[in-house]
């Protein structure tokens, strides 16, 4: 069917982008060298490349590949979470940070940078506070009875605002010559610190989240028709919504762990995907994942190649995202309703 054709096309596009990105960098590697190197790796032979294979090993496998995989994971996770949230909250203008996960994780990262000794501790702190922020949002929503979706959104606003203030406190009290620049720079987002081992560690839960969101994507259509209709169709609305929020939170919090704060991807990629494949979430979610992954690899290429110095990727995603969002608004105005 056309569904599988579009998805295969997007997958091929992603792989091509990834391979081309491997050749891009301050140290030029030809496409043929890259291919020869990986073919050699697969057949366990020393490749007949122009550049020294050991240099290639270092350049491609230790430096570029982890970074490209990190970019794919981050882009895919944010896009999948964003698309799932947009369906669940019946609003095409929400992003994965809706329930405060990004604010919480940013605070966790900043706090970790000040008190923790190791980078691993910072990462754990980032992840935990991302989850804590969402749990607080859900907790606030549970205090009152009424429109669950509205209460969750308000809970997220409150929780997000709280962690943003707490982040300011941490920044204010941070050493202005050493810690503060590190925090600010990290929050601009960037993949330069993505090392192979960390990427491998976060890849597992992120992939599990995305696979799970995809396999539950059939419920997103019915959730976006409203709770009562979904319940009347026998769908365990609360349970599926909590599960989806858990999966999206896990994926989004981990993006902050490896790449800091990257905005706008989770908001605009689902829109691009929707223009391409339509609103049906059973195909929209996998399409968002593939497009999001491709997009962030490309943006990362731009951020590390455009100027002599690397620009934080979060700045690039915002600069690209904002004009696009203006276009999206025009369409929303024409009747996305809700």
């Amino acid at each position: 069917m056309s569904r599988s054709i579009i998805l295969s096309f997007l997958l091929v596009l992603l792989l091509l982008t990834a391979v081309v990105s491997l050749t891009l960098g301050k140290y030029p590697v030809t496409l043929s060298d890259t291919c020869l190197f990986f073919v050699g790796k697969i057949f366990n032979q020393r490749p007949a490349t122009i550049l020294d294979p050991d240099l290639l090993e270092n350049l491609l496998l230790s430096i570029r590949l982890p970074r490209i995989i990190a970019a794919m994971l981050v882009g895919a996770s944010l896009a999948a979470s964003g698309a799932a949230f947009q369906a669940m909250f019946v609003n095409p203008l929400v992003s994965p940070g809706l329930l405060g996960v990004l604010a919480g994780a940013s605070f966790g990262a900043a706090l970790g940078m000040i008190v923790a000794k190791s980078w691993l501790a910072v990462q754990i702190c980032t992840f935990l506070f991302g989850f804590a922020a969402v749990m607080i949002a859900i907790g606030i929503a549970r205090i009152y009875r009424g429109n669950t979706i509205l209460l969750l959104i308000l809970g997220g606003v409150i929780s997000g605002a709280m962690f943003t203030s707490l982040l300011s406190i941490v920044k204010y009290s941070a050493d202005p010559y050493d810690k503060l620049p590190a925090i600010v720079y990290w929050l601009m987002g960037g993949l330069s610190l993505a090392d192979g081992q960390t990427v491998l560690c976060v890849a597992v839960p992120m992939t599990i989240s995305m696979v799970a969101i995809t396999s539950l994507s059939g419920y997103l259509n019915v959730l976006s028709m409203g709770d009562e209709e979904a319940k009347a169709l026998g769908v365990p609305v609360q349970r599926i919504r909590l599960l989806m929020i858990f999966l999206a939170t896990m994926a989004s919090a981990l993006t902050v762990v490896i790449a800091g704060m990257i905005q706008w991807v989770g908001l605009i990629i689902p829109h691009i995907a929707r223009m391409l494949v339509g609103p049906n979430n059973r195909i929209l979610i996998p399409a968002s994942i593939l497009i999001g992954a491709t997009y962030l690899v490309v943006v990362d290429d731009v951020s590390r190649l455009l100027f002599n110095v690397e620009i934080p990727i979060g700045i690039v995603t915002s600069l690209v995202g904002i004009p696009f969002f203006v276009l999206v608004l025009r369409k929303a105005n024409r009747g996305w309703g809700a």
């Binding site: 259509n221 009562e228 609103p279």
Partner: protein, 284 residues
Amino acid sequence: MKVIETPLIEARNIRFSYDTKPILKDIDLVIRKGEIVSLLGPNGSGKSTLLKVLLGLLKPLEGSIRLKGRDIHQTNPKEIARQIAYVPQIHRGSFPYKVIDVVLMGRLPHKPFFFSYSGKDFDIAHEKLERLSIRHLADRPYTEISGGERQLTLIARAMTQGAEIFMMDEPATGLDYGNQLRLLEQIISLSHEGYTFIKSTHSPEHAFWLSDRSVMIKDGSIIGDGKTESIVNNDSLFDLYQARVTVVKLNGSIRVCVPHAISKHTRMMVSGDEEEIMFLPLTL
């Protein structure tokens, strides 16, 4: 030997409130197969709440609801959904899903937790669209079809659920006159196929035209339950809506309501009781 059929739905002593304000008080209601029951009552009388309680979406404070003899709150939600379908008040929808995708949602109660739709699911959905003569809409966006077509789409989804009881919340509200009449026609034709309808309505005439049986609700209590033609009359309509109308019987069968305020205004005179109506034409 007389066989006593188990009622489809049997609600006993239902009490419900959202906060402290009671919404439903001591509701007793028995629904039998093939009935078209109209719920009549003013805004805020509890009609929609009653439908949701009967669907098992809201749990009453007291009382029990039995679906074919089984307590509805002990029944698996998917099992309920295979028997009762909810056709909500007309809505604009959120995302522009295709009509077929909306109808396919009706297959959810037949699916395991992790699922994908099979060719059979599509066949069933298309078949129901065909039955309602809207198969040509299958690939159109749900948000861009007319209100009447959206209502039919939701009915197709209800049929796809495999449900035999349809709970409709003001199905005709928001439809233009022609679509209202076509909708009523579809409901009558589906009821001949054995479907049971419980629908709230703001139009006593729709109750006359469709329903053998009407239930009148005021302030959360049932104040009348019985044959439409015997319980819906000038006095009970005044009691419900504080509006004076005369129920007129035309050609000895069809009933319509003539509001006094309007008839005075147009100088059309209505006198006497039901069935002894004399129309004085405007030209007199």
